[in-house]
Symmetry: D2
Subunit: 299 residues, 4 copies
Amino acid sequence: MSPLVTPPNRQRSDRHQDRARMLISCPDRPGIVAAVSQFLAKHGANIVQSDQYTMDPEGGMFFIRIEFDLPQLEVNLEKLKQDFAETTAAEFSMKWRVTQAGRKQSIAVFVSKEDHCLLELLWQWKSGDLYADIAMVVSNHPDMRDTVESFGIPYHHIPVTADTKKEAEAKQLEVTQGVDAIVLARYMQIISPSFIEHYPNRIINIHHSFLPAFVGGKPYAQAYERGVKIIGATAHYVTEELDGGPIIEQDVQRVSHRDNVEALKRIGRHIERIVLARAVSWHVEDRILTHQNKTVVFN
Amino acid sequence: MSPLVTPPNRQRSDRHQDRARMLISCPDRPGIVAAVSQFLAKHGANIVQSDQYTMDPEGGMFFIRIEFDLPQLEVNLEKLKQDFAETTAAEFSMKWRVTQAGRKQSIAVFVSKEDHCLLELLWQWKSGDLYADIAMVVSNHPDMRDTVESFGIPYHHIPVTADTKKEAEAKQLEVTQGVDAIVLARYMQIISPSFIEHYPNRIINIHHSFLPAFVGGKPYAQAYERGVKIIGATAHYVTEELDGGPIIEQDVQRVSHRDNVEALKRIGRHIERIVLARAVSWHVEDRILTHQNKTVVFN
Amino acid sequence: MSPLVTPPNRQRSDRHQDRARMLISCPDRPGIVAAVSQFLAKHGANIVQSDQYTMDPEGGMFFIRIEFDLPQLEVNLEKLKQDFAETTAAEFSMKWRVTQAGRKQSIAVFVSKEDHCLLELLWQWKSGDLYADIAMVVSNHPDMRDTVESFGIPYHHIPVTADTKKEAEAKQLEVTQGVDAIVLARYMQIISPSFIEHYPNRIINIHHSFLPAFVGGKPYAQAYERGVKIIGATAHYVTEELDGGPIIEQDVQRVSHRDNVEALKRIGRHIERIVLARAVSWHVEDRILTHQNKTVVFN
Amino acid sequence: MSPLVTPPNRQRSDRHQDRARMLISCPDRPGIVAAVSQFLAKHGANIVQSDQYTMDPEGGMFFIRIEFDLPQLEVNLEKLKQDFAETTAAEFSMKWRVTQAGRKQSIAVFVSKEDHCLLELLWQWKSGDLYADIAMVVSNHPDMRDTVESFGIPYHHIPVTADTKKEAEAKQLEVTQGVDAIVLARYMQIISPSFIEHYPNRIINIHHSFLPAFVGGKPYAQAYERGVKIIGATAHYVTEELDGGPIIEQDVQRVSHRDNVEALKRIGRHIERIVLARAVSWHVEDRILTHQNKTVVFN
């Protein structure tokens, strides 16, 4: 069957071929912005946008995200990165990365039986709103193969049972090799620590509650039981602590006594797909820095 | 010193002298609406607004709030209530009450050192948006006497210490005698079960978090620590379980990594006062029914 | 090609076979609720939910939406409707309708080149959130045939030019015969008054602005030009006045100076699809009454 | 009468005595960030926060807001400003200003008979949330003198009639001499162009609608008439065009068919005071740059 849709190729001014992004975190001290911007100017780069944040000015952490244009980026970027590593980055003990804005990151989407989050990602990808390559979909169930393949995307059915979890994860690691990030789009399996350490701060999960309320299973039933007037969803990086990783994005919607568990789920599905799609977009646009158990999101 | 402001006397069409409100909850069974509306029609009352909700149609609970106009309400209401008790209410095993919309309920506001929630209530009272009599302000601190008295409202300073708690609550009970409800406007003392039972579902508290997240002390510090992207406040009826009573209203606001604990508090103050003022308004307008640990809010 | 998905058949308690909905508007006068509920009780119906609203109590309009259960609805409904018409409805000069909650309404979706609103409706239909039959998609362009047909839904490509508008609308009327409502899901053609009168208050349009701001063409460009900080979308019934019909639903999202026209469109697409889907859901669930140029939405 | 409250003196880390703010707009070209940050580093200043935005990278406008710490700011600032004017600012044709974060700006609040916006500002000022000096309140009515004076703030009653408008504005100019900004807190008089030109982009008005919808008088009545489902308020700088100046902030709240004009006004009052207070805060914290008829808000 031929793909239902052709991947998009929309122009966006902030993704042209000479645009790059630089993300830095380091201990704060005077002169960092000056040093970085001077370094870029010296290399012929023009800063187009910069967002910066200092956590606790006295003795704190410094975070910056810079978009810059560099003529003939493809040719000149490696040299710039090498120079930066040897000079400014070393001088200020920076954690840093530089990426090309025009290069799409590749992601693998993990899914179980609920399809709404996956569909949202597929549509946003198809419409060009999600600037990434969905390299594959991985599922512990066979259900969504037709849907996924109709978008021209490979589908890996890797069953998971208590007994086969180890082998299943080994297989997942194998097929996902080379992807930039993994998105758990209502994937109903716990990820083991050994898997997580292959993708530090690169596995995004959607939890169907306003964390830290209703950690764990059946959050909509918990919310109904407690009688809350607002429900939410939370996208976060996956760490060893269940539902405890750095929060990327949250959103909420008002509910009332009229909404039973079924209604909460229906309303919640909309929040989940929006929140997850936002988080994935920010991730692939290099808008997120993590520090300890928190995110700095430049959006 | 003469009062800074005179209490308002604005006309509102839904508060005129012949308007009454009827609130009912009872086990669901066919014919309730018919019986009630027929009863009212027979007594010459005209239903102006009705909101009804059945929790779980098969074998569930029935809730209704009716506003009706009855000519010469002042004269005829007692008879209507007596008749209702003896006929329809008895027949359907109803929990019910009927109140005059034009009669202001009286409330006592309890406060400690934070003044924002109190001020919001005072202003809404002054502007006529809060249709209630603020009969008094009770505080364990003397700080806000001048402010409160400048509105022409009595201020009772009743200090509370671990040793004097019992006597303090006895005194609070004494001064609040006859009020319809108590509002804890950031009152930083635990209310004892014996006090609560004098005001069942008539003590409203504002908790400065999006419950059930961040129960207990210092919720803004907890929220900062967890790195949430949205903070909230919750108005609820006070029960023996700390921060565990029926939720009346919640609202939230978006925050970011830039907001430190101080900023969260500042943003949160705004949410707190709005949420508490809404809850108090709904309470004094008889818009809230409670069932088990939840509220049905007809707003 | 076989359908990509099979239409859902989820159980919802409020759509079971014996549930019906009654919608009434009439001049207000005492005794309407009593008369209606007594009528229903006499016919063995149990009111499960009722929402009522009186516009301007003195000499105003009365609106009510009732959900009731009637044993063996299929058998007994016609008799009930006939009786109602002859008695209560006549007595109070009511405009009214009664529908079966379990019967899906059929809709025709009109679309041009933008697919996001259509896809949202298809997805909500597929997931069972939209309880309706999408009987067909009509478009003045051929582009979305494959997508629509992959859902097992007929696609009618009816080109429209200035010269052929009359014939095109005649053909549209022909193919849509028998549908309950028409949804303009970013259909970029003006509907003629003669077409509209076939579907009074049954054509729903999504306008991509927060009406009445930015009526007419290119609302996102207009919004950018004016420098607004919030953008929105509006679902409304189509009347002869362009973008002037009764508003069903609106929603908004915050934007900033960073968002250019392209970004506003991207953000707006999300609002549009949510707002339109809500409006369509409310329509097919008989939650909307219109009066003059406004809607009463019982949701 | 002694003031009811004493002005606050809360510590905020971002307002300490050595903190300054620099705001720049200029035609974009490579090297601006580098030049500015190098300039600041050379003068011993440490950039604590910076927000930057380029409108249309090719041939567009560059905007930046920088917070920096400079040891002994009081002593060294003048020299820094002088140097900046002669070097970097001149080189890049900058419009720019540098202010001391610890110095409170002074504002004059204009008010007529509605008090809610004024009270919000007074309260936020009292609580320290609004970091400004409310130097005076000017009103065309005598009504609020007692309230204002109880806060220890001078009250100027300057009546305005069609005949005396010119003299009234002359008197207003006289009393407001030296204030940094004027806030129209529901001041119901048109400001003449000759008055406006004394305070370019320094007069903030609150309009009680979601502009550009419902320009002019009685916006809540207009909103009711149109049947909108969301109402809003807009804070903007005052220009010669009525309700047409650069928008600073907007916010909205959901309403329904149940809300009559009176209810819309009540709901709207809350939006108005929040929106105006935010706009004033951003203004006095130097977070707003204007360009043509739009604002760039770094918040």
